[in-house]
């Protein structure tokens, strides 16, 4: 995972220091077996698209690659209704936003994962809650 994420990937220790809320284990629409919940990672990148949809909200994130250019990551969040109950709405993120987010990466090493939390939005700490269902 680390090599693929390149410069955008930080250590889990950094996540802990950021005070990201510990998520409650949850996959809703299908099982969460495909995500590595033991080894969350941090992605730093630019939002290409924020898909405010069911069954899952998605963040399409462009992360700078070591070899130059961007790699696109698909980050799966929970449902619209649960995001809304936590304070999110369809304008919480928009294309072009610079974000630092935690994810639980796919075990198979592809560029995707389960949303863990929004650490920074456009350079400022985010108050939007992380993943809880």
């Amino acid at each position: 995972m680390t090599s693929r994420a390149g410069a955008g990937l930080l250590a889990f220790a950094a996540v802990c220091l950021m005070g990201v809320t510990a998520p409650t284990a949850a996959r809703a629409h299908h099982s969460f077996a495909m995500f590595d919940r033991e080894h969350p990672v941090v992605l730093v990148g630019t939002v290409r698209e924020f898909q405010w949809t069911n069954p899952h909200v998605w963040i399409q994130l462009l992360v700078p690659a070591k070899a130059g250019g961007d790699e696109e990551w698909g980050v799966e969040c929970t449902s619209v209704n649960f995001m809304r109950r936590q304070g999110w709405d369809r304008t919480s993120l928009k294309a072009g936003d610079k974000v630092k987010i935690t994810i639980y990466p796919l075990k198979d090493g592809s560029r995707g994962g389960q949303f863990g939390g929004l650490v920074e939005l456009n350079g400022s700490p985010s108050k939007l809650p992380g993943y809880a269902r």
């Binding site: 299908h30 077996a33 924020f50 069911n54 069954p55 399409q60 799966e76 619209v80």
Partner: protein
């Protein structure tokens, strides 16, 4: 003719309004009496009950533990070949490549899975009927208390056919005619076409609903399997829309494994704010 029709309609509206007002007064009085005070009905809304003395289990509820059918991860005593089938699913699950999850393709979870999903549901009580409206995939369970028989005969369906009756403070529900391909939980706990389900709903306190669920399946389980599930009231929540087909990027793959749409959804599915 037209005017007469309108007048008649007007009278009907007035009659209904009067009835609702009377019911509202009754509901208000009942609320003062105790058992109705715990509901989460919005001001001005009226609860319709078949019987003023009927226990009240209405409200928006969310299960406290989910993921596995049993909160303590206990399992029914599976008989062959269901034991081997489940072992295969768990092996794939542990390897991070879960298989056979019918919900991956937006098919409904069905019974008994819907009772343990991490989404809220709303129970409504109307004359002769208890209805559960689930946020997850917009599903519905209708529980008939008025002697209605299964109009589908014995055709198996995702939620089966449910009849119920009150026994003291408990609602007893018996469900039959459940499709064999529903699973009991996200791990793929199987059952056979012989499955019947008995439930015992009770409101333990204003904030807490209990459902004791017994799965009886002589083909797949060596003996009936009972779990006790707890749901908490969420009085400020409303049930939101959830259309699974809107932007499902988790379709199952050719090998039965649950997929993950790493790349942007085809055609750019999704709302662009």
């Amino acid at each position: 003719m037209k005017g007469g029709g309108l007048r008649r309609t007007g009278s009907a509206v007035a009659a209904v309004a009067t009835g609702l007002l009377a019911l509202g007064l009754w509901a208000g009085a009942a609320a003062l009496g105790g058992p109705r005070a715990a509901t989460n009905e919005a001001p001005g809304m009226t609860a319709l009950h078949a019987d003023p003395g009927q226990p009240d289990i209405s409200g928006v509820w969310l299960v406290t533990q989910f993921f596995t059918f049993s909160p303590d991860r206990a399992l029914p005593k599976l008989k062959p070949p269901y034991d081997a089938l489940y072992a295969k699913r768990m092996k794939a699950f542990d390897a991070g490549a879960p298989i056979d999850d019918v919900t991956a393709d937006c098919l409904p979870p069905g019974m008994p899975h819907i009772m343990v999903v991490p989404y809220p549901f709303e129970i409504m009580q109307t004359p002769g009927r208890v209805t559960a409206l689930y946020e997850y995939a917009g599903q519905v369970r209708r529980i008939y208390l008025d002697g209605t028989q299964n109009p589908a005969g014995s055709d198996p369906t995702y939620y089966g056919f449910s009849v119920g009756r009150w026994q003291g403070d408990a609602l007893l529900v018996h469900t039959t005619d459940i499709r064999e391909d529903t699973q009991a939980d996200f791990t793929g706990l199987p059952h056979s076409d012989a499955l019947t389900i008995d439930e015992r709903f009770r409101r333990l306190d204003p904030e807490t609903l209990e459902d004791e669920i017994t799965l009886t399946d002589p083909k797949a389980y060596a003996e009936p399997f009972t779990v006790t599930r707890i749901y908490k009231l969420h009085p400020t929540w409303t049930i939101g829309e959830y259309v699974c087909e809107e932007n499902n990027r988790n379709q199952s793959l050719a090998n039965g494994q649950t997929g993950f749409g790493v790349e942007p959804a085809a055609g750019g599915a999704g709302v662009k704010p």
